[in-house]
């Protein structure tokens, strides 16, 4: 069964304190892994797509990496505006569905 697990559920960081969010997945064959950001009361906003182990993508203070079993979202020197829920999703090669994890709620304290 295709499954996505994210950890931790919640993370509180001081402004400038770097950390990583984890997304582990089980999928019959991985077509793509996605990271989204979701602010309260809004729909998820796309951040990254990763396709193969070893791939990395960066955007401002965020960097996503992918291995054969998990992905990390590294946050370098976060700011309060980075506070949000970060969602991970996978899509298998065999289907058209996207499977989401439960998310990590990030709070960055000034």
């Amino acid at each position: 069964e295709d499954q996505v697990t994210q950890s931790p559920e919640a993370l509180r960081l001081q402004e400038g304190e770097s950390s990583s969010l984890n997304c582990s997945y089980t999928v019959s064959g991985l077509r793509g892994l996605f990271w989204y950001r979701q602010d309260p009361g809004k729909g998820p906003e796309f951040l990254f797509t990763l396709y193969s182990a070893g791939e990395e993508k960066e955007k401002e203070r965020l960097k996503a990496t992918l291995t054969k079993k998990e992905s990390f979202l590294h946050i370098t020197a976060p700011k309060p505006e980075d506070s949000a829920t970060y969602l991970c999703a996978v899509t298998p090669t065999t289907g058209n569905q996207f499977y989401f994890g439960t998310g990590t709620s990030l709070t960055v304290i000034p």
Partner: protein
Amino acid sequence: NAGVTQTPKFRILKIGQSMTLQCAQDMNHNYMYWYRQDPGMGLKLIYYSVGAGITDKGEVPNGYNVSRSTTEDFPLRLELAAPSQTSVYFCATHRGLQPRATNEKLFFGSGTQLSVL
């Protein structure tokens, strides 16, 4: 371009009532999805469609119905609403799998918050 438009934004239903959640897109995407999001539970796929006239069940389809008569619209129907259907509903679109996997992503609407009392 409006992107993905969901209506209404909020709705309160009584148990047993029916309603349709609307989703419209102007991106000419073939793939459309309905998700529900409960607190701490992530996004669960209800139904999806890969093109007009084609729909398929997702992880949690019970209590819902969909239709896809045009590329632009993908309404979600709730029959006999139950308290368990209290949730936030998101519609999303995708241009479809490409021969070379690159920059694929879901585009989401802003959601419909539904309460069944």
